[in-house]
């Protein structure tokens, strides 16, 4: 019993160190904690989901509170990647149980990708499987991707007033293909508003990457 408690407390302690290393953007710390987690018998999946991903949640909260900015969001993703580099060689196929699947892309005519890439980092850190369609993605490609990957969520990004109009085209194309009710749709990008998202028939608008990912997490936890 004592030994069990001891190893439980060691597990809790090392998961907390993984979490804190991500929160504190500590690359050396996260790699050290990842190695210690493996030595303590923590599975790679637990180290990711119960350690580092918890850290990303705190990072998201700090971002929303105005304490962290884009640099810290990206650095947290980088820190988590470094932790993963220690854990991944110890993962077996099927170890990572994803909480959901997202198809994401920047719409046709638009080449911006920074915002999309931050969303991908946060989605992956939260346990989503992400299929990145890239930039300048036409409606047909979104439709094909939904048919092929059967995602839970389609996420679209646009950074120009002249390209955001293509989001409505994509939603219409999904309707015409009989796929609209198979997915939740979230949109984001500088010129967008909640009202615009509603007008075009999206299910949600993410003001920023953190809010967008939180919406996606709520959807999959409720079963969409």
């Amino acid at each position: 019993m004592y030994v069990l408690c001891g190893s439980m407390s060691k597990r809790v302690e090392v998961l907390a160190r993984l979490r804190d290393a991500v929160v504190n953007l500590d690359i050396d710390g996260v790699k050290r904690a990842a190695r210690e987690a493996l030595e303590a018998g923590v599975t790679p999946y637990e180290a990711v989901m119960d350690g580092m991903a918890k850290g990303m949640e705190v990072v998201g909260q700090k971002y929303e509170a105005g304490e962290y900015f884009l640099a810290e969001l990206i650095m947290a993703g980088e820190t988590m990647k470094e932790g993963l580099s220690v854990l991944e060689p110890h993962m077996k196929p099927g170890d990572m149980k994803h909480i959901g699947r997202v198809v994401i892309g920047t719409v046709e005519g638009d080449l911006h990708d920074i915002g999309k890439n931050v969303v991908i980092t946060l989605l992956t850190a939260s346990g989503f499987e992400v299929i990145d369609l890239g930039v300048d993605v036409p409606a047909e490609k979104f439709v094909e991707a939904v048919k092929q990957y059967k995602p839970d969520i389609v996420a679209m990004s646009a950074l120009l007033t002249t390209t955001m109009v293509n989001m409505a085209k994509i939603i219409k194309a999904l309707e015409q293909a009989g796929l609209r009710d198979k997915v939740k749709i979230i949109v984001g990008g500088a010129p967008l508003t909640e009202e615009y998202a509603r007008q075009i028939g999206a299910d949600a608008y993410g003001r920023d990457a953190v809010e967008g990912v939180n919406i996606c997490k709520r959807w999959v936890s409720r079963g969409g």
Binding site: L25, I27, G66, Y68, F69, L70, A71, E72, I74, M75, E78, G109, D110, L111, H112, D113, I114, G115, N117, V135, D136, L159, L160, T161, T162, T163, V165, A190, P191, R207, D208
Partner: protein, 357 residues
Amino acid sequence: MDARTRFNRFMRYRDVDRPPFYEWLGYWRQTVNRWYGEGLPSGVSVEDFFGFDRREGVPVDYDPIPSFIPKLIEEDDRYIVWQNTFGIVCRDLKVSTSMPNFIEFPVKKPSDWDVLKPRFNPQDPRRLPKYWGEELFEYYRSLTHPLGMGFIGFFGFARNLMGLQRLLIAFYRDPELVRDIMDHWALFCVEMAKIVLSKVKVDYAAIWEDMAYNRGPHISPRLFEEFMLPCYRRLTSTLRSLGVDLIMVDTDGNFEALIPLFIEGGVNCLYPLEAAAHMDAVKLREEYGRDLRLIGNVDKRALAAGFKTIDGEIERVKPLIEEGGYIVSVDHCVSADIPFKHYTYYIGKIKKMYGLS
């Protein structure tokens, strides 16, 4: 009253015949192409058609010298992939003027910067135009419209070298590299200012940063204070000692969190104040007072929407125009979803307010 006198007086809240009349950030190529089919006479520039006041910039070459060879790397029906003179590999859509997708940057590690640094020497005479001399100085002295000197800012320069993502990570993983890049650039800009402004009197300096997006600046006030504030102090104190006291920063997005630090760093004018990023020129004037001049903030989405929303926008910023120290302009390049008739209506209203035909 000529445009130069008008601009300088207006930005210092002195009496003028009318406010300066500019579309400060200009137009996307796609927009002008659209308008040629909607009533803008072929071959006539938008500026000439509407009779905007003129302004001019001293041409300084901020590229690495020798520059990278601008070259086409790949082309198909839809894209061109090319390297520009800064060494940045870009992918552009052939069909529009969206911002390009930046694929590769010249500085990936500290040794890349060590190799590139000597190419940023302010003393290189090739940075100035071939006609740099007394004739040009006399021309500038005789100008009846404002003359500005542009600078690439410290974040902007580092981002050009490394790309945004790598730069943001470098603040944490390689802070000495970021510090060295920004300090070198501060030295460069100070020297460039001394070289140019010892011969030429300019009416304003404009520093391009682009360091924010709709939800806030890319970096925290803490990082700005540590890495960029010293650079700003050095450049703005030099500019002021050389007679330039209108110092502007251009950054898209919402950079409100950094405004107190920009001001502390010697900046006293900000643009373009993107409305979609919740920048509000009226609120900024209330908060910071007349010491902070402003340009832009007319919501491009309102111009796209119609005459009523255009009227609303003009009403909103009218008190600033009447007070002075604010140049009404669209909150970024005029976008191609704005019909020519909407823009004509908007400009017509502005011109009527100014007493222009």
